[in-house]
Amino acid sequence: MAAMKGKYCFLMAYLWLTTLLGALDFQIPKVLDISGFGTILADQVRLGISGEYNGKGRFYGMIPRSDVQLISADKTLEAPSSGTVFYSQVEANLPTVFSFPLGGALAVIHPDKFVSLTSGLDSFQVIESSFRSSKEMQKSSAIKKGEKLSGGVGSGVYTSKSFGLRLFDVKNELWMNTIFLAPWIEDNTSPIIRSARLIKAGTDNKILFDIIEANKKERRITCPQGAYSLFVDARDIIISNSHFYSAPYRIEAILDGEIVINASFMAARASGGGISFLGNPPPSQRAIGEDCSYQTGQFIILRGKHDFLLQVNDFAGNQTDMRISITSY
């Protein structure tokens, strides 16, 4: 396994994103810790509580997240952009009334048809913002960039000082990965590949080849020719020494020098069927395998000897490689 820098991918992604974002002045505020877009939703919450959760079993709610989770130094979060509040949600203060999981939340419409949703907010903050928005509806920005939004002791599924932030590109119907809009991040560590498996298509997922194990031993696998799905479990630590982790940005499979899989968490397409991650069809759980690894795509291995390279990049351009030889019969 080798780690190397690949800033080119990052720059391309950044340019593509900035083109999409156009005139939107949106920046993720500087926070203590962050868990990125695409990370398994339920994992991170358990991790945030115990600090050592490493569960593998799949259950309802284990899907790639379409927001970023931000852990603030205090009980406030700076508004990432200016805009007008059009939807506000508060948490009921009695258990006899159902409260929604995002807790106190504000949906804000920004210029150029971008909509953000900040969750985990304090109810008082939500009420104050809503009240202001009602009074000045359509006149001026109800929320100003940099304004302090308070989270108090946490609301909804968010712990204290923890917030959720998601951004939707209305024109292109995409949930955007906002981690590129956090220029303060200094990530110098490469992602870790925890598992990588090839599963033969059309075989009830029973015939599998473990690339990690092969890489440790003979660096080669022998398999029948045919179509294979590549499942990868990779994690990236964005902030040094953090126990929060993020999904990688890009997973590429290169067979004999040709890119056969190119899956990224740049954005997730929204449609009537749900959310589409890594190019998989919706709903989002289709992007997750039985062991909670990412389903990155499918490619065909023909009879013969092949060189296979797996490349996993993080958002800052750090890269981890794994190379094996495949003999197909």
């Binding site: 939703l41 409260s99 995002l102 048809k113 909509v115 009420i127 609301s155 209305v170």
Partner: protein
């Protein structure tokens, strides 16, 4: 002279008729008994007969949940921490972080439920609302997922009747599912249209669906179930400037709906398509002195034209009332109550220390 005499008689008849009409819309409380069942004298839920499903009312208090046995005037209770959803077959407790879901059968037998979601129960529907608010799963009483759906936007409204489950989302999309997960109604919208769903309500008999949508002005849309789908009957503008998510309920007689947005409470007459804001003064009570400090939550319809509202203080968690409205008029205030339950001619109020049952309500 004779004409004047007839006119006088007609006038008196009109006055008598109008008086009679008004009286008939007001509740004639014929409460036959008021029983207060204290938690301190309640029985443990483990001994509730498993076959008992008639004449029991599930309830959730602030630290106890259970069933009120209407026939025998008994309470069966179980302590819980955090939050809970309950129906006649059992309950689920969960914490705010959705990390510790426990599924219970009616007699208290427990098993963990692996899910990252909040449970929501109504009309025998058991739904898990995923923690990112963008998906739902229908589960059976063992926690087994029967079907699940994902939406492209966060869910902002949910309601159920005996036959259907309705979901509204931030972008204005509406989905109504039957018990098998088939979409009876599916309206896809885009955020470009500014049609955000702020609330919705299904009538108990599944005939009506009322949707509250749009940013400014808001619209109240009324749908009626016809030919295996919901068809829009009409829409009315709602001139209120609020961005709050709403809670709503349609009265059991389908005459009207009550909706609340934070400190704003609205009566909507379905037949005559008009609304009026219910002023705080009309709702009486101590909590409404400073209206910005209270929040209204519509708890649900309790029978005929009665709707229960929870009025809670924003600052003081301990301070709450349950208001019973009849056609939008306040007919009863349960000071200090946390919740309301109802079945046929029984209305119950859940307090911190017990459940009060009022039997014989006949509007």
């Amino acid at each position: 002279m004779r004409r004047r005499y007839y006119g006088l008689i007609l006038g008196i008849a009109a006055i008598v008729f109008s008086l009679f009409s008004v009286r008939s819309t007001l509740p004639e409380k014929e409460i036959t008994s008021i029983d207060f069942l204290a938690f301190s004298e309640a029985l443990n839920l483990s001994i509730i007969p498993m076959n008992k499903s008639d004449k029991i009312l599930p309830f959730v208090g602030d630290s106890l949940l259970g069933y009120a046995d209407l026939a025998e005037n008994k309470l069966y209770v179980h302590p819980f921490k955090g939050r809970a959803a309950i129906d006649k077959a059992g309950w689920i407790t969960y914490d705010r972080l959705a990390t510790n879901l426990q599924l219970y059968e009616k007699n208290g037998r427990e098993q963990p439920l692996q899910a990252y979601a909040y449970p929501w129960f109504k009309a025998s529907w058991r739904v898990l609302l995923r923690a990112d608010q963008m998906g739902i799963a229908l589960i059976d009483k063992t926690g087994f997922i029967l079907w699940e759906k994902e939406f492209q936007m966060p869910v902002t409204a949910i309601d159920a009747s005996s036959s259907f489950l309705a979901i509204g989302t931030l972008d204005g999309s509406i989905s109504v599912f039957d018990r098998n997960g088939w979409a009876i109604l599916s309206i896809q919208a885009s955020l470009q249209e500014s049609q955000t769903i702020y609330g919705l309500a299904l009538s108990g008999d599944s005939k009506y669906l009322i949707i509250l949508r749009g940013i400014s002005p808001k619209k109240i849309e009324t749908y009626r179930f016809e030919d295996n789908s919901f068809a829009k009957l009409f829409e009315s503008s709602l001139m209120v400037n609020t961005t709050f998510q709403a809670t709503m309920a349609i009265a059991q007689d389908n005459s009207h709906a009550i909706m609340s947005f934070g400190d704003l409470l609205i009566y909507y007459n379905i037949k005559n398509k008009y609304y009026r804001i219910l002023e705080a003064e009309m709702l009486g009570g101590d909590l409404s002195e400073n209206q910005t400090d209270v929040r209204y939550f519509v708890l649900g319809s309790l029978g005929d034209s009665l709707v229960a509202i929870l009025r809670s203080s924003l600052e003081d968690i301990a301070s709450s009332d349950v208001l019973i409205l009849n056609h939008g008029l306040l007919v009863h205030t349960a000071h200090g109550a946390l919740g309301a339950i109802g079945e046929e001619e029984v209305i119950g109020f859940v307090y911190k220390d017990g459940v009060e049952l009022l039997k014989g309500w006949q509007p």
